[in-house]
C-alpha cells in the first residue's frame, strides 16, 4: 500500500488533537506504520491549526506537503480553503459547514470569503456537513468533530468496527456513548 496522507485542519480549540489521536489509534489498530504531526502551544489559542497523519508500510516524513494529501478534513470552511492546495488532484475534502471569523475579519481588516464550498467543489470532491447542527441534535455540541470524522471515515480504508473500537479506546470513558452516536451520525449520511 502506498502511504495515505490525511490532514485535519481547523481553529485552535476545535478538538483537532482528539481527532488526531483517533486517527493514530486506527492506523496502529490496523497494523500500519504511522506518523502524526500536531500543533500545541500558542496557535491552539484560536489560531489556524493543522494536523498531519501519514500511514502505510513505512513512513519517514511526519508531515504532508503541498499536492500530497488524499483527504483534507476541515472543521471550519475558511481553513478548508487555506489548505486545499495540499490536496492531490483527485483529493477529497470533508468540510464542516461552519464559519468562524478570524480576528482579522472581526476587526474589519479583512473579509471572510464568500461561496467557499461552491468554489472548492469546482476543483475537488467536496463533502460538506453542518456538523454543529447534527451534534446539537445528538445532545452535545462538543462532539461535532467526531461527526465530521464519521463522514470522513467513508474515504479511508478502515471498517466501521475499527472506528468504533478505536473511538471507545480513545475518548474519555464517560463520553464513549455520545461519541459513538456522533460518529454514526456522520457515517450514515
Amino acid at each position: 500500500m502506498t502511504t495515505k496522507n490525511i490532514m485535519i485542519v481547523g481553529v485552535g480549540g476545535q478538538g483537532t488533537l482528539l481527532t488526531s489521536r483517533i486517527l493514530g489509534g486506527l492506523a496502529v489498530h490496523a497494523g500500519y506504520d504511522v506518523k502524526l504531526s500536531e500543533v500545541h502551544g500558542m496557535a491552539q489559542r484560536g489560531g489556524s491549526v493543522v494536523t498531519y497523519v501519514r500511514y502505510g508500510e513505512k513512513v519517514s516524513e511526519p508531515i504532508v506537503e503541498e499536492g500530497q494529501a488524499d483527504v483534507l478534513i476541515a472543521f471550519e470552511k475558511l481553513e478548508a480553503k487555506r489548505y486545499a492546495h495540499f490536496l492531490k488532484k483527485d483529493g477529497v475534502i470533508i468540510v464542516n459547514d461552519q464559519r468562524i471569523d478570524p480576528i482579522t475579519v472581526v476587526t474589519g481588516a479583512d473579509k471572510y470569503p464568500e461561496n467557499i464550498i461552491e468554489e472548492l467543489s469546482a476543483k475537488y470532491k467536496v463533502y460538506s456537513i453542518d456538523a454543529m447542527a447534527k451534534a446539537k441534535e445528538i445532545g452535545n455540541t462538543k462532539t461535532f468533530n467526531v461527526v465530521v470524522l464519521g463522514m470522513a471515515a467513508r474515504h479511508m480504508n478502515y471498517t466501521e468496527e475499527d472506528w468504533l473500537t478505536v473511538i471507545e479506546n480513545t475518548v474519555p470513558p464517560k463520553t464513549i456513548e455520545i461519541n459513538k452516536k456522533a460518529f454514526e451520525a456522520g457515517y450514515r449520511i
Binding site: G41, M42, I63, E66, V106
Partner: protein, 586 residues
C-alpha cells in the same frame, strides 16, 4: 543495553517517548519548567509512580535540582524549551565541569519555525560553548532509545548530556517499542572537593578534564552505532540528523547518508571517510550551520546553507527543489485572511487589557498568552523580550526618561511568569526606588503551555496539595506599600485603581485575579445574549475583540452560544443594557 525485551508497540508523541526512555533508564528525579515544545515530557514522566517529578519555578532552579540529585547518586533529568536553556545556562556551564554522580540528562526543545517562541536559537550552539554532548533523535522510537543512551553516556563520560529535540519531533507521534525499566543501584554519596566544589583550584583541573573528555568522545563517536553510514548512490552524500534526516529519506531515497545520532562532538574521522567516498557532499540541518561550519573548518568541501536556510523548518519538497531542482506539483495557495491566535472567550486578560486600552496606557509585556495583548484589536503591549523582563524593562524606562515618562505605563506579567523570574525584577524596583506600576495577571495557572501548576496554585506536578505562595503577601513582604487584589472583570474598580496608581510617585502592584476560562475547574456563569430591541449596534461590545461576539451580515450583534463563556465583559461594555447573562441551568 543488554537483555532488552520488547513488551509491545505503542504510538507516542516524541515527548511521551522521551519520558518513556527516561523511565526505562531508571530515572528517579526530574525537574522542569513548562515551555512549548518541551512540556509534555514532564506531564508524561509524572505518570510513572517510580519517579519524583516536579515543576520548578524556573529552568535554572530545575537544572540545579537535577544536578543535586545526580551528585547524590541517582539518575536525574531536567526538561525545558530552548530559551529555558538560557535561564539554566549558569548551572549548565559549570555542571559540565563537575560531571555527574548518577546520569544527568537535559532535554532541550528547539522551535524552528517559532510555533510558540520568541526566537529561533539553536541549543547546539550552547552545548558547544558549554562542552556538553548532544544526542539528536529523528523519530519517537529514537527519542525513547536515545534518552536511555543519554544516561549511559552521561555516566560513562562523566558529563551532563543534552538530548535535543525540535517542535516537529516533540509534537509528532510515531510507533515506539516499549521495554522494561531497569533501575541502576543508587551510587553512595561521597564528598569530593576536587570534583564538586567549583572554585578556581578544582575548576582549573576540571577544565582540563572537560577538554580531554570531549576529545575522547569525538574519537569514540566514530564507532558509535548511532552515527550510521549507509552507502547507496555515491554521487550524492548527505550528512544529516534529527527530523531533517526524515526529509532526506523522503526526497533523496538513493543518496548515501551519514546519519548522526550524536551531533556534539562530531566524529571527525568518520566524516572525513564518508566525504572522501561521495562526489558531492551536502549537510542538511535545520537552524544554525553547526555541523557545516565544523566540517568546512576541516578543509572538507560541502554544500549547506548556500542553498538552504537558517530560518524555519525544512521539508522534503524544499530539499527536492534545492538539491534536485524539482518543483512540486501543486495548486497555488488561495489568498485567505490570516487567522492568528487570539485570547479565548472569557479570558480575564482581555478584560484587563480593555481597561488599559481605554486609559491609553502602554504596557511593558512578558511571556504568556497575554502577549497576544500586543496585537489588534487590543494593541496594548509595546514590548516583549523574555520571561520576567516586563518589570525590569519598565524600571529601565523610568531610569532613562524619569518617573513622569512612565505615568501612562504599566508592566504586565502572568502569575507563573512572575514566580519564574519576575519576582527578582520586582525586588530590583523596590531596591532601586522605582515608582512604576506592575499588573500581575493572576489566572491561577501556567496558561499558554496547557495549564500547569506552579508555586501559587496549591498543587504539585504529582497532584499533591501543597502550600500556596501568596503573591499579595510576597509583594507586601518586599516592602511595597500599595498592593491591590482586584477581580479581573471588575472593570470600574480596575479603572479607578489604575488611574490612581500610575500617577503615584511610588511603586505599586495590582494583582488582577480570575481563573483561566480553559481550566477544568472553570464553571461558566452562563451565556450572554443580545436583546435586539435595545441594541443600537454601536459596536462598543466588539472593542475588546472577543471571538464569540460579532456583527453579522445584516449588521446585527450576535453571540455564538457554543463559544461564549459568560464572562459578561461585553455586557459591561454595552451602554444600552442590551446584553444580559442567561444563567447556566435556567
Amino acid at each position: 543495553m543488554k537483555g532488552e525485551l520488547t513488551l509491545e508497540k505503542k504510538i507516542m508523541l516524541g515527548n511521551e517517548a522521551i519520558a518513556r526512555g527516561a523511565y526505562e533508564a531508571g530515572v528517579k528525579v526530574s525537574a522542569a519548567y513548562p515551555g512549548t515544545p518541551s512540556t509534555e515530557v514532564s506531564e508524561n514522566l509524572v505518570k510513572y509512580n517510580e519517579i519524583y517529578a516536579e515543576w520548578s519555578p524556573n529552568e535554572k532552579v530545575a537544572m540545579e535540582v537535577a544536578v543535586g540529585a545526580s551528585i547524590a547518586g541517582v539518575r536525574s533529568m531536567v526538561a525545558m524549551k530552548h530559551v529555558g536553556v538560557n535561564v539554566a545556562a549558569d548551572p549548565l556551564y559549570t555542571a559540565s565541569y563537575i560531571g555527574v554522580g548518577g546520569g544527568l540528562v537535559m532535554i532541550a526543545a528547539d522551535d524552528p519555525g517559532l510555533y510558540s517562541s520568541q526566537n529561533e536559537q539553536d541549543t547546539r550552539r550552547v552545548a558547544r560553548a558549554a562542552a556538553v554532548p548532544v544526542l539528536e533523535p529523528s523519530d519517537s522510537e529514537e527519542a525513547r532509545r536515545f534518552t536511555k543512551l543519554a544516561f549511559e553516556l552521561s555516566e560513562e563520560y562523566d558529563t551532563p548530556v543534552i538530548l535535543r529535540t525540535t517542535t516537529r519531533l516533540s509534537h509528532s507521534q510515531g510507533l515506539v517499542n516499549l521495554e522494561e525499566r531497569v533501575e541502576p543501584d543508587d551510587k553512595p554519596y561521597e564528598r569530593n572537593f576536587m570534583k564538586n566544589v567549583m572554585m578556581p583550584g578544582p575548576a582549573k583541573k576540571r577544565h582540563i578534564y572537560v577538554e580531554s573528555r570531549m576529545n575522547k568522545m569525538a574519537e569514540d563517536a566514530c564507532s558509535m552505532d548511532i552515527n550510521k553510514v549507509s552507502y547507496d548512490d555515491t554521487s550524492i552524500g548527505v550528512i544529516s540528523s534529527g527530523i531533517p534526516y526524515q526529509y532526506v529519506k523522503e526526497a533523496l531515497p538513493h543518496a548515501s547518508v551519514l546519519k548522526l545520532g550524536l551531533v556534539n562532538p562530531l566524529p571527525k574521522k568518520l566524516i572525513e571517510k564518508f566525504a572522501s567516498k561521495v562526489d558531492k557532499l551536502y549537510i542538511i540541518e535545520e537552524l544554525e550551520p553547526v555541523i557545516e561550519e565544523q566540517v568546512k573548518s576541516w578543509g572538507i568541501e560541502a554544500t549547506g546553507k548556500e542553498i538552504l536556510t537558517i530560518q524555519g523548518e525544512y521539508s522534503a519538497n524544499m530539499l527536492r527543489k534545492a538539491i534536485l531542482g524539482e518543483e512540486c506539483e501543486a495548486e497555488e495557495p488561495a489568498e485567505v485572511p490570516n487567522r492568528p491566535p487570539i485570547l479565548c472567550p472569557g479570558c480575564p486578560h482581555r478584560s484587563v487589557f480593555s481597561v488599559l486600552k481605554k486609559l491609553k496606557i502602554h504596557a511593558s509585556g512578558d511571556i504568556g498568552c497575554y502577549t497576544l495583548g500586543a496585537v489588534a484589536p487590543l494593541n496594548v503591549i509595546d514590548t516583549t523580550l523574555c520571561m520576567g523582563a516586563s518589570i525590569s524593562m519598565l524600571h529601565g524606562m523610568e531610569k532613562a526618561k524619569g518617573k513622569d515618562f512612565i505615568k501612562n505605563w504599566v508592566a504586565v506579567i502572568g502569575d507563573s511568569t512572575f514566580l519564574h523570574t519576575g519576582v527578582n525584577s520586582l525586588m530590583n524596583m523596590v531596591y532601586n526606588k522605582a515608582t512604576g506600576t506592575v499588573v500581575i495577571l493572576d489566572n491561577s495557572t501556567t496558561g499558554m503551555t496547557g495549564h500547569q501548576d506552579h508555586a501559587a496554585t496549591g498543587k504539585t506536578l504529582m497532584g499533591e496539595t501543597t502550600y500556596i505562595i501568596d503573591i499579595y503577601k510576597l509583594c507586601k513582604a518586599m516592602g511595597i506599600e500599595h498592593v491591590y487584589e482586584i477581580d479581573a472583570f471588575d472593570i470600574d474598580e480596575l479603572e479607578r485603581v489604575l488611574k490612581e496608581e500610575t500617577q503615584r510617585d511610588a511603586i505599586s502592584v495590582i494583582i488582577t485575579k480570575s481563573p483561566c476560562a480553559l481550566l477544568k475547574s472553570y464553571v461558566p456563569k452562563g451565556k450572554c445574549v443580545v436583546d435586539d430591541e435595545k441594541c443600537r449596534r454601536c459596536g462598543a461590545c466588539l472593542v475588546p475583540g472577543c471571538p464569540a461576539i460579532k456583527k453579522n451580515s445584516e449588521g446585527r450583534i450576535v453571540i455564538d452560544d457554543t463559544m461564549c463563556n459568560g464572562c459578561s465583559l461585553c455586557m459591561k461594555k454595552c451602554p444600552f443594557d442590551a446584553i444580559s447573562l442567561e444563567k447556566a441551568g435556567v
